[in-house]
């Protein structure tokens, strides 16, 4: 997954729900130096019996915000969604020659 265009990651999930797996896996995909490179990562854990769906909020470097409902998505689908925008940003960056 391309993570270098992410500036802000917000995850909310209930670890005891079997559908929060993709939320936890998304957190484990963040590179080890993400926080020291200025990415903000906030994870909030819901209590055990809450029915609230898992939620992922992202902000990109160009200011785009993305809100994903992780309850119905597998981790591959989440990665596709995020990478789609990240690839656009990567191409733009390449064309500008930076």
């Amino acid at each position: 997954m391309i993570t270098r265009f992410l500036t802000d990651v917000r995850v909310k999930f209930n670890p005891f729900s079997p559908r929060s797996k993709s939320a936890r896996l998304f957190l484990s995909l963040m590179p080890p130096s993400a926080r020291s490179n200025g990415m903000k990562i906030e994870s909030q854990m819901l209590p055990r019996h809450s029915k609230e769906p898992a939620f992922l909020g992202l902000k990109f470097k160009d200011g785009k915000e993305m809100k994903l409902d992780l309850d119905k998505m597998r981790i591959t689908e989440v990665m596709e969604e995020v990478d789609r925008h990240s690839r656009q940003l990567a191409r733009k960056e390449e064309l500008l020659g930076n």
Binding site: P15, F16, S17, P18, S20, K21, R24, L25, L27, S28, M30, P31, P32, R35, S36, I41, S43, M45, P47, R48
Partner: protein, 343 residues
Amino acid sequence: MPPRIRLRPQIVRLQLHTNQHIPIIQQTHGYVSLATATTPAPPISETLHSVPPVLRYPPTQPPSYKPPEVRKTQLHRQYQSLLKSSPLLLLFQHNNVRAVEWMSIRRELAHALSKVDAERQAAGSTELYADAIKIQVIQTGIFASALRVVEFFHPGEDTMEHSQHPTSPATQTSAQIPNTTGSAEDPRFTHGLSMRAYQAASNRKLKLELEPLLSGPLAIVAFPAVSPQHLKAVLSILAPSPDFPAPKRRTNPDYHEPAVQSGLQKLMLLGARVESKIFDQDGTRWVGGIDGGIDGLRAQLVAMLQGVGAGITNALESASRSLYFTVERRRIDLEEEKGDKKE
């Protein structure tokens, strides 16, 4: 000394080759009818007592269903024993924690726990667990499987006695030593790596309560006993919260090093398993918040029961007292009425 049988087998063989037409019986002066039974007679001690049975594997290593030499099997066994021996288990998710960060987190944890132990030793307690409590990265799938065995496989009382050694003179000959073969398919094996354990654990209809947590990169902290004091120290280091504040920069500057802090940001407390019950984050904090551990709970219970006792005596006394009052009042009333009639 057993009786000797006169026999010269070499001569028999020689004569068999040279002149076959002569009957052998006439040529030899041994008992040829016994020639096939050349095994020596058993010693007298064995004819008096029955032969102790033979165990075909070391008593501590009954044959395992899966190949025992691979790492997976050994980890499985190790996790089973860990789960059976630790009543309190914290479950963390670790997201790409680096080796340096692990090292510094472990150092801080050991430091905090040794402090707790020093306090307890000063208070005269003998339950010191600092050396036994460590954070440990686990193989999630194998851990889940081991947990299934621990939860769902209960062989009951008829476990085989592997501890008595067949050749030791202390073992009675009537002892029921498993006369099992070396094959792992024997259904009499009931250890954690046996075929029966495997079958019990692979029943997909049984669901673990902890199952949704067991995915992704996991680490555990296992406690050899439910000791809220140690749990408190661990929580304040690994998952600080308002109830369990992290050590201040002034008291413990090492804790605020960047290596420790960046590592802790990547650790997430998921839940806990306390005496085979599952708790979430808040539940874990509640367990950590029990003052004084089991002794504290006992003291609370005693205080409560004493309070209840006092209440009960009060209630019972009040009933009798009020009865006394009513009866007394009635008597006074009656006397007054009598006095009125007389007048």
